[in-house]
Amino acid sequence: MSLAYDTAQAAVIGTNEPFVELQGVTHTYGRDERQVMALTETDLAINSGDFIALVGPSGCGKSTILKLVSGLISASSGYVLVAGREVGAVPVRVGMAFQNPTMLPWLTLRDNVMLPLKIVQPFRAEYRSKRKTEFRDRVEALLSQVGLGGFSDKFPWQLSGGMLQRASLCRALIHEPQLLMLDEPFGALDQFTREELWAVMQDLWMSRKPTVVLVTHDLKEAAYLANRICVMQARPGRIIEDSTVPFPRPRTVEMTYSPDFVSLTHNLREQIVHASPPKKQAA
């Protein structure tokens, strides 16, 4: 059944057009003198099924790109194209996960993860009839894939932060999104849990191949997970460097200590430090 749902993506894979494209996009928040330019004259093309990471200092417009691409805000100027058309014109399923897992405390894990199926077409039409059968199995399968098998009857307050973040990833993926938006999803976790979840995330991506945009502060995380890393600069926000990550998959935490990997992250760090505007006390 997943074949029928993937036509929008398949249509794009057939051609050579990127799935997501930003053309000269500028975005400002606020009005008049209090205006803040979050993103300026940005071009970016993301192929279908690609995994890209946006890294950079705070205020460089990383999250703004996420919101533009998922259609939560519209650009002040320039074009945001998804599946070849203006964002929102082609119905594209989008999944999102944030630093805060934002589970609904009154629902069990299963019902929390099932929420998108209740909202998004074509699942919405079948929700009542398949809620207790097919959808339920689908949720269980996804939960066990991230190591949460047997927890689906628990409530969010009975679980740890790492478990909730796994569930949050499941909620972002349950409706088979073509586009997955991750805004620092592992930012609040401890080192070990984070590394575990990198592997989980890589598994999920490799088995489903959604187009992923990951916003992160963690360079190691970006290099572990992404195929492409875009380094961004703040005030005004723009992309200053776009590099591919050559390491083979599946990647392991061991690999992140190899000399090639370290030199890649070191290089990224250099770029970000040089791109940052001078500190206030220096000015």
Binding site: K67, S70, G71, L72, P91, R93, V94, G95, M96, F98, N100, T102, L104, P105, W106, L115, P116, K118, I119, V120, F155, W157, Q158, L159, S160, R171, A172, H175, M181
Partner: protein, 257 residues
């Protein structure tokens, strides 16, 4: 658990002690029952004249619950309207505060003018008094929905109604049920005020007539009934609150650390 039992025992002890002290002081100083009847006299009066008091009590409960029911329906509707958008919340709030700070007793004569003395003004007064806490709590509950959660929903192309039903209203439930405890007592106050001013039935009316006949034990019996009714209604809605919104408190008790 032990501390809880002890605290409860102390509370009951205090209540009993209060009435015993009252009884004792009245006896010791020879206070006449025209001024302040003793608790034992009040209870005897209550039981002796229960057949006469009972219909009034039923009328008061009926009026209160009618007003309360109307208050819930209107309160939830207005609260949802106001809470569902930031703009509506900011715009409507001053007017709401204005309504809330107007003494509702002053409205009773207007209701009497419109609908005549009787049950209708009492129901409306009860409604008017209990509506404000419900509106404010429902609106606050809706307005405090996490923006990230709203982003998740909007990215799924959820309509405003979808967000309201799946996220907003469940999230407002604890606020709503907390407001019911307050609202039911307020509705009760409204009923009794209206009955005192303009009605020929209900405990409020009974007390008015009894006091004009200098039947002071009966006045106090009415007061005792009101206190008992108020406490029971409060307890019922506290119980409902605890049953329906357990997820807000369990957090601390059972969380896995």
């Amino acid at each position: 658990m032990n501390a809880k039992v002890r605290r409860r025992a102390a509370s009951i002890g205090l209540i009993i002690g209060f009435f015993l002290l009252w009884e004792f002081l009245c006896l010791a100083f020879g206070v006449r029952d025209l001024v302040l009847p003793r608790p034992s006299q009040i209870i005897i009066t209550l039981f002796q004249r229960l057949p006469a008091i009972w219909p009034h009590a039923v009328q008061t409960i009926y009026t209160t619950l009618m007003g309360f029911g109307l208050g819930i329906v209107l309160g939830v509707m207005i609260g949802t309207l106001i809470g569902s958008s930031r703009l509506a919340y900011d715009v409507a709030y001053p007017l709401l505060v204005g309504f809330a700070s107007t003494p509702k007793v002053a409205v009773v004569p207007i209701f009497v003018l419109w609908f005549g003395a009787g049950t209708v003004p009492a129901v409306l007064t009860a409604m008017l008094l209990c509506i404000f806490p419900i509106v404010v709590n429902v609106a606050t509950g809706l307005a405090t929905t996490e923006p990230e959660l709203e982003d998740v929903m909007r990215a799924l192309k959820a309509s405003r109604l979808d967000i309201l039903i799946n996220v907003g209203l469940p999230r407002a439930m604890p606020y709503f049920f907390a407001s019911l405890k307050v609202a039911i007592t307020q509705a009760f106050v409204g009923t009794v005020i209206a009955e005192t001013v303009a009605s020929n039935r209900g405990i409020g009316n009974l007390m008015m007539i009894a006091s004009s006949n200098f039947d002071v034990p009966l006045v106090f019996a009415g007061l005792l009934i009101l206190a008992a009714l108020g406490v029971s209604l409060y307890l019922i809605f506290s119980f409902i609150e605890a049953k329906t919104t357990g997820w807000t408190r369990r957090q601390d008790e059972f969380a896995v650390h």
